[in-house]
């Protein structure tokens, strides 16, 4: 491409295909402040901080323009800083601060808040405007994220990342002018809507308006409780980012130093989630080989990413049989730890506290699910993010970078390189292939690298020749990419056998719980760090992890696929397509104990057929042995399947006489 030239502050700058003036100016080394500009997202042009003066041509006067939404042209002459622009930027920031909750020292984002940083850069010293709004309540409905409207600058970054990168749109602008806010539909809480808890909104929020839910206090409380035995696990992607705040480059592996820091904090044992990642491969690759041989429920989707799982449950509930039934590595770790550690550490099960350090906010949601609780106690008691553990380390005054690296505790601290690369897009697939290909061929796999699944491409596809046949695989990250991929699968345009999905850009390495400010350059460095950790590990294949093997022999029924493995390491999925809580009551019984019947209809299907079916159902109940024993509700499926659930038993569809007969049978059985 031809090089073109324009002038920035009197210096010539070459440019090619930059999409706007802002990128050209940043390339020239001038960091113009912005709130609403993100290179990964569409251009919004709302914050008015990126203003520049463009020199007029042909006698026209100079113009002040937003550089993010101005196309670069050869010969342009730009000044990034004038008296006027400085004043305008200052006013913009003052106006934002007027209604902002400025209790900065107490804000979890105080160290990396862009508003605070820009206010300092611009030298804002007084706020001349009066605060006009009362503080709005903070949204704490989500187990993963906290939303504080009083810190929102309405830049819309979260709105765009949620709809453009994740294809969800759980939050949006509502109301208008000075009343504008960013909220979920109907002003509901994030925990009550279709949000999948990925935390990418928090990862782009310039202020503390959306932040990962903080659970550090719970960890300290457990550590200070003498009756508790507290153990911790570290997820793969944490190790290549945790050092960033302490002078490390992104991608530098700080696992050993983190282990040392956690021991200082008082954790009794420090384990590695990569151990249970290896275990996941035992289960998932076995599951894949089984399905592939039987040609059943293909493609198999990975299930390590809880944001993806909730996405699938919400938008594609009919694809649930394709989701691997394997728990995530966190889920496996929790159940295994609670089973084997009490005896090994000499404590009671109820006194064992399992803490997990994750790059992820959705893991907080996952750990709190009822299906991962035993007697009401979560198997993973507390989940904290990378940024939370960084805060814990700082609060101790430990210089993480100066600590001598220490080794993980055994047995749950031993892992192979395959377990480590779980933290990057393509990693789970590569780890599974190392297992599956070796098992399928029956020969030792010498070259363990499957480089076609690596990298930052949003969708990666490949076909592998194996003795068992051709295996078509796909790897994607970003849920909008997952949606595109599933639509292709559903339309028959694409056929795969095995698909890996991770919700966050590049995988867990830029999860919602990682240190703020991930760019593509940082993501690549962290990914590279994961592959270095893989290469330098003693072993590269999960199946060579003899401690996982030993664990199976001693505690989990001898091997993958066993009954015990099924109990401890697998799970089930629910239909969440009714995430939109517009449930219409159709019938209310008067019995004290009633059976709940939910008819889920699609909004774009024939309403008359739906009404007819509802009438049939209601009439059947009224004529049944318990006419007052049922509550019937009608719900809407966003894009999922239609169904009728009677007391938790679901019948897909109701428009066919056969399905309706099944529904009536369930009603009779419940009488």
């Amino acid at each position: 491409m031809d090089k073109k030239v324009l002038t920035v502050n009197g210096r010539e700058v070459e440019f090619t295909d930059e999409r706007n003036l802002l990128e050209v100016i940043r390339k020239a080394g001038v960091e113009i402040p912005t709130f609403c500009y993100h290179s990964d997202l569409s251009v919004y042009g709302a914050c008015r901080l990126c203003l520049v003066e463009v020199e007029g041509t042909n006698g026209r006067p100079n113009a002040i323009m937003a550089s993010c939404s101005t196309a670069p042209a050869p010969g342009m002459s730009i000044r990034t800083e004038t008296k006027e622009i400085r004043a305008m930027r200052k006013v913009a920031v003052e106006l934002l601060l007027a209604n902002h909750n400025t209790e900065c020292p107490t804000c979890v984002r105080s160290e990396d808040c862009k508003l605070r940083k820009i206010a300092r850069q611009l030298g804002v010293e007084h706020i001349r405007y009066k605060k006009l709004k009362d503080f709005a309540p903070i949204d704490v409905s989500s187990p993963s994220l906290q939303r504080d409207p009083n810190k929102c600058v309405l830049c819309g970054d979260c709105v765009r990342v949620c709809s453009e990168v994740q294809g969800i749109g759980a939050i949006n602008f509502a109301n208008r002018g000075s009343n504008a806010q960013v909220v979920p539909a109907f002003g509901a809480g994030l925990g009550e809507v279709e949000c999948v808890n990925c935390g990418q909104c928090a990862a782009v929020c310039p202020t503390g308006a959306i932040t990962p839910k903080q659970d550090v206090d719970k960890v300290w409380a457990a550590l200070y409780d003498p009756t508790k035995t507290v153990v911790v696990e570290i997820a793969p992607a944490v190790r290549v980012a945790v050092g960033e705040q302490f002078g490390a480059k992104p991608g530098e592996n700080f696992a050993g130093k983190l282990v040392a820091a956690l021991r200082i904090m008082g954790f009794k044992r420090v384990f590695d989630t990569c151990f249970s990642a290896d275990m996941t491969i035992f289960e998932e690759a076995t599951e894949f080989l089984d399905r592939f041989t039987k040609k059943e429920d293909l493609p198999l989707f990975t299930s390590c990413c809880p944001a993806w799982v909730k996405f699938c449950e919400t938008y594609y509930p009919e694809m649930r049989p394709n989701l691997s039934t394997c728990r995530s590595p966190q889920g496996m770790f929790g159940s295994v730890a609670k089973k084997i550690l009490p005896e090994q550490l000499g404590c009671k099960r109820e006194d064992l506290v399992v803490v997990s350090i994750m790059p992820c906010t959705a893991k907080k949601f996952e750990a709190g699910l009822d299906k991962f609780k035993v007697d009401g106690v979560p198997e993973t008691d507390i989940v904290i993010t990378t940024s939370e553990v960084q805060r814990m380390i700082s609060s101790l005054g430990i210089k993480l970078d100066e600590l001598e690296p220490e080794a993980f505790d055994m047995p749950l601290g031993f892992s192979t390189g395959a377990g480590v690369i779980f933290g990057t897009s393509g990693g789970v697939m590569e780890a599974a292939l190392r297992f599956a290909v070796e098992k399928a061929t029956g020969k030792t796999l010498e070259n363990v690298d499957f480089k076609m699944v690596r990298g930052m491409d949003k969708i990666k596809e490949a076909t592998l020749e194996t003795p068992a046949g051709e295996v078509r695989i796909a790897v994607c990250h970003g849920l909008a990419s997952a949606r595109a991929l599933i639509e292709k699968i559903k339309s028959g345009e694409a056929k795969y056998d095995f698909v890996e999905v991770m919700a966050c850009p590049g995988g867990c390495i830029s999860g919602g719980g990682q240190p703020f400010g991930a760019t593509d350059a940082i993501r690549k460095q962290r990914q590279a760090g994961m592959y270095v950790a893989d290469k330098t590990a003693q072993l590269q294949k999960s199946q060579d992890n003899y401690l996982v093997d030993k664990c199976y022999q001693e505690h989990i029924g001898g091997g993958p696929g066993s009954h015990e493995a099924h109990e401890l390491l697998h799970t089930t999925y629910e239909n969440r397509s009714r995430a939109f809580d517009a449930v219409i009551p159709a019938l209310r019984g008067t019995d004290p104990e009633r059976v709940s019947v939910i008819m889920t209809v699609r909004a774009d299907s024939d309403p008359k057929g739906g009404e007819k079916a509802l009438k049939q159902l209601v009439d059947h109940i009224k004529a049944s042995a318990r006419p007052e024993g049922f509550d019937v509700d009608v719900a809407f499926a966003g894009s999922g399947e239609e169904s009728v659930e009677v007391g938790g038993n679901a019948v897909p569809g109701f428009r066919t006489p056969a399905a309706m007969k099944k529904v009536k049978g369930l009603v009779d059985a419940a009488c």
Binding site: S163, I168, G169, A170, I171, N172, F173, A174, N175, R176, V183, P184, A185, F186, V193, E194, F580, A582, I584, P585, A586, L587, R588, G589, T590, R602, A603, D604, P607, E611, L614, V618, E628, V634, F636, A637, G638, S639
Partner: protein, 172 residues
Amino acid sequence: MRETLDKTRATATGLAAATEVLEKNQYDPSRLIPILEQIQEKLNYLSKETITFVADALRLPPARVYGVATFYARFALNPKGKHIIRLCDGTACHVKKSRDILEKLYEKLGLSDEKRTTDDLLFTIELVSCLGACGLAPVMVVDGEVHGQSTPQFAEEVVDKIIAEEAKGGRE
């Protein structure tokens, strides 16, 4: 039991009306605003169920439809009264003491800035910024009929008249 079933029937009727509008607009998401307008015309306001239903049918996130519905003052998210009193509070009307009329109406109907519709769903008071009839200030529009140079007494009379007619079995 009867009551909830009736409510469901009402909702179902509403959703059938919404379906009709959606069909007329070919389920085209780019026609979201006219769709909402036409549905509101039929149903008086946009309920949570209606908004969710429209969002699902158009394959849009409910938050986006909610955003559009709350952006335009024209859309109502709560049921409106049978009789709508639109009071102008533009500069001219304000100077001519439109606020006194508003206070009178609030007092008479037990309403406030936060509560604009009576519990019996008979009246809704809407405050508008300018009706473009500043020469007639203060202006009040009752069920589409413009009343210039209004006074608190006049407002009270209008309300009394409507209540009396409603008691007799409704106007028209």
